[in-house]
Symmetry: C2
Subunit: 270 residues, 2 copies
Amino acid sequence: MTTNLDKKIPLMEVFGPTVQGEGSVIGQQTYFLRFGLCDYKCVMCDSMHAVDPQQVKANAQWLTQRQIFEALYEFRSKQQHSTPWVTFSGGNPAIYDLQQLVDLLKNDGWKIAVETQGTVYHRWLLDCDVITVSPKTPGMGEKLELDKLDLFLGQFAIAGRYRDRLAIKMVVFDQIDLEAASMVFERYVRDAYGISASQFYLSLGNPYPPGTRDARASGVCLECGTPDLVQELVYRYEQLLPDIMQHPTLCRVKFLPQWHVLLWGNKQGV
Amino acid sequence: MTTNLDKKIPLMEVFGPTVQGEGSVIGQQTYFLRFGLCDYKCVMCDSMHAVDPQQVKANAQWLTQRQIFEALYEFRSKQQHSTPWVTFSGGNPAIYDLQQLVDLLKNDGWKIAVETQGTVYHRWLLDCDVITVSPKTPGMGEKLELDKLDLFLGQFAIAGRYRDRLAIKMVVFDQIDLEAASMVFERYVRDAYGISASQFYLSLGNPYPPGTRDARASGVCLECGTPDLVQELVYRYEQLLPDIMQHPTLCRVKFLPQWHVLLWGNKQGV
């Protein structure tokens, strides 16, 4: 009989330590485990190499949960000192039952952050330290499935104290995305869900993820006019900020850049 | 008899809404009340206009706490919608007894963040929502008074649940600053103080605050070589990051840019 413990899971990358670039743990030093495959295929995905089944098939290591733990353990052992944080990213790590991996990591003293769109719930999520739920805005080019999000966040609501570990993060590009974020805010930032405005983050989207056109309109060197992604992102942040500051609900939330994109552009493995 | 309520306090600026640029509430939309005068005079202070007694004397409005509340209330009333957050900054706002102002603000539904170096404690600090304590590193050019910080943080330790509202933020420029930050980490990130590593932030210092030389060495347009403060800060962040990631204690903390400096350089009132 094949049990859950024998099941092999596609691991795309182990990397770090690096810094978390967005959301409630922005600036946190962390390792990353990037899992392959996703129930979504966002047009603006910045990690399509972990989403596209063909690329996952070609490049994933298929490992048991114990093997994934050992890969991370070995990876970290090369450092004399380093962060106790590991972030599960993807793809969507929540499509897998990772209870064994979480148990191994917690027994070894790790702190775990998870990034997921909130479409699939598993019990192991409650054992993680930070759960960042990123419902998709129209700008990301995928559907927002509120029925699934109801179920996902409902489980945290029922679990009581675990609710503090949740953060909702929505990637925004424009006013249409702000309306989607506002709708999610009004639905879930309520006593029934135990989620406060302080747990709600807007994250400025990267207009040029890997594989897209790279013609930057506005952010340029003031001297010579050369396009510059860092200046472009600063410019776009400033452009969107007034609409957020004057918005009846979104004026209460935090608005952040994707700091990793300013630091490293679209480079993988950092 | 002159009571506390009649006492006039120097207010330098009311501005916002803008975004908090650093520390635990980075990205939070907030108004700012900037108070005049400080018990310190950091060489690298980015708000010397609110510290230097001559400039305070020339430019402050001297107001009672009720007048300060009314000034903020009126300032916000020009906006149809806006953030419920106000941040007390300075100077050092904690040199004043602001209990009446805090009571007026809380009764009016405001959320209050405070920025202080942790040298002077007042009871009203416990009624605020976020207290960011910034002990000074050598790079800031002021003394680190651990005896005062012991007393300050000791009051929060005794107050129990209020401890979660604390964040320690240290501005760092180089390795010497990292050692000072590490010493503060080891002294206060302990059960006795109830402060966890998640409440500890490093903030990359601005090497060119108002009034200092402005010759940037490293961050330049890749095309024409023109110095660029944004690129300079991204470059300096990347340079310091490996030392933090390999540090026995600081590998556990969050390391952030001063996002407001990337957005607005040294512009006042944003």
